[in-house]
Amino acid sequence: MPDLRFVIPRQNINREDFASSSPDFNHRSEMMNTDRGFKCRITNIVQLTEQEKLFQLRIVDPLERARFRFKPGQFLMLELPGYGDVPISISSSSANHEFLELCIRKAGHVTSALFTIEEGAYVAIRGPFGSLFPMDEMAGHNVFLIAGGLGIAPLRAPLFWINEHRDRFLDVNLLYGAKEPSQLLFTWQFEEWEKINHIRLHTIVEHGDAAWRGKRGMITDLFNDISVDVKKSYAIVCGPPIMFKFVCGYLDKLGIPMNRMFVSLERRMHCGMGKCCRCMVGSTFTCIDGPVFDYWSVMNLKEAI
């Protein structure tokens, strides 16, 4: 009797295996093992406000740490074993290969659990995922960095990048708005950014208390005092979705071309790899083609904002 037992033995698939079979294999995944989390130690936690904490992480394995590279705009999936994983923008400098910083708001199941852990705890990260702010393309231009509330978190990476390559850029303006003065984050860095990096900083709050001596109003009000050279300007806008419409619409009226404005979208995410479809906007995925889109693409994607 012939033996028809199925011949392929149990196999351990390694990534090289299908690197050869998929022509479209992306360079991002060649570098890393996308399904396995890099183990990280929480080295520092700073309570920024009641709702926000800044976590400093260090990848435990030296080799993995050396290979972990990201670009401004990208995010990672932060996993707390037993609770789940959440997409978080990388909020530190891409030149800092030792530590990663994540600015996290307490919003739900996983992030609340993250708020209970202490320094020395271990978490896992997967990534980096997503598209980048085109920093090289912006070189030689004026840059407007416009942040609303927690939008400063994804903006910190491009900001650090600009600071490290300050001579490549012309005027750099940081416009930062929040509901209340107490919600302005990273205030301790303001002076450094202004004095050392020559970034023009403009802040505004919606409801200022008595102690607040700065401006009050909407973030677009800040443009009243800034002259914009529309031919030589790029803008990065991060914040709540309504802000995109507002600010980009305003800049569009001023005359900045749509493909020179960049926004970072947020959607629900469960994989970061274009597999779960939870993050779909229009006909594409936020995790792969985003989160950074130029305003023109955003306008053309259904239901993007």
């Binding site: 199925f6 698939i13 779960c276 479809c277 939870r278 594409t284």
Partner: protein, 359 residues
């Protein structure tokens, strides 16, 4: 591809030996529906006699062998200082007998999405590599529209495909594994007559379709009709049950859940198939739902199925099996929805035909 002809008797002997030596699945009648029609599903089989070769179509698709409803992606064990993550891509080898052309087409589409994209899925790849797929052609059911989607024939994605040409099967052998297995059995090269019979059979199938959907330029119509009242109308009927995505051979969206073991010594990451029709599909922290209305969610399922996403070059991923139409309790089916969208007369805005009857 190598073509052979095998007598039905010999084929049964071959399948019998194959299913006896491996963990195998084939179509079986599991129930009768309210109209008295048999309901088939892929079930474990031990001998060839358990396989209903003359089945119509299974209620669920064969995707569940590759994308199980629940799948453990990794597990964590906790110890004094920290945790260890374990991942295994192991897959048990399985033999699948009797898949229809559209089922295999759907697997090819899943290959495209899950293996050729930015981040190939090793879980899926392990399962796909460890399967032996035998396809069988069949005469279309009255509500099948796979011809409209050009998925009524397949040329890749299977190990062996059988076309029924009377007393014999016309075999398309697409893998060396299948070729080697068949060496032990009596086959012959196709004769001129066999080829004629195959052409006849193909014609019979080709002309057997009674349901057709005009999908010309459908992707751009979906874009243009994004705000069409058609979505509202059909959305009102939708029960948000997600059945359509579960039975669909090419729906692959999922949700991730992480949970602790009861002894708190470990945790596991588990993936569960999900559906964009479920209410909380696009809910983010803070409670904002990017797709709050039934119609928005239903539209997205059609958008994904019939427009296709950048991830697979904007190809449609629906293969036209109408499983979703048959399974939907609210009577929502691709034919009516798409015709509506095309503003065709045959399905007017007020009357909605119920799910088409099966023979």
């Amino acid at each position: 591809m190598i073509y052979k002809v095998i007598s039905k008797k010999e084929f049964r002997r071959f399948v019998d030996l194959l299913v006896k030596s491996n963990s195998s699945f084939g179509p079986q009648q599991v129930d009768t529906d309210s109209r008295g029609n048999p309901v088939y599903q892929f079930k474990p089989v031990q001998t060839v006699d358990e396989i209903a070769f003359d089945y119509t179509a299974t209620a669920s698709s064969a995707k569940h062998f590759f994308l199980p409803f629940r799948e453990e992606l990794s597990s964590f064990t906790f110890h004094k200082d920290g945790w260890e993550q374990k991942i295994s891509y192991d897959a048990e080898p399985v033999v699948l007998v009797g898949l229809r052309a559209c089922d295999i087409s759907a697997l090819n589409i899943l290959d495209d999405v899950l293996l050729n994209g930015h981040f190939p899925s090793p879980y899926y790849l392990a399962k796909r590599k460890n399967s032996f797929v035998i396809g069988m052609d069949h005469l279309p059911l009255p509500d099948c529209f796979c011809k409209s989607m050009s998925h009524h024939t397949v040329t890749t994605g299977f190990n062996l495909f059988c076309s029924d040409i009377g007393d014999n099967y016309y075999l398309s052998i697409n893998s060396s594994k299948a070729f080697n297995f068949l060496k032990e059995f009596e086959t012959r090269d196709p004769l001129y007559e066999d080829n004629c019979l195959l052409v006849e059979r193909r014609k019979l199938i080709q002309h057997g379709f009674t349901t057709e959907i005009d999908v010309t330029a459908l992707p751009s119509i979906l874009d243009i009709e994004f705000d069409s009242p058609v979505w509202e109308k059909w959305g009102q009927k939708c029960l948000n049950c997600g059945t359509c995505a579960m039975v669909c051979p090419s729906c692959y969206c999922y949700s991730l859940t992480e949970s602790f073991e009861t002894n708190l010594k470990g945790a596991k990451r588990e993936k569960r198939l999900y559906s964009c029709n479920l209410v909380d599909f696009a809910v983010v922290a803070g409670g904002h739902n990017f797709r709050p209305k039934n119609g928005d969610r239903l539209k997205y399922r059609y958008y994904h199925q019939h427009r296709g996403f950048a991830e697979n070059d904007n190809q449609q991923i629906c293969v036209g099996c109408n499983r979703c139409g048959r399974a939907c309790l609210a009577g929502i089916n691709p034919k009516d929805v798409i015709n509506d969208l095309r503003m065709e007369k045959e399905s007017c805005l007020t009357c909605v035909s119920s799910s088409p009857a099966r023979t």
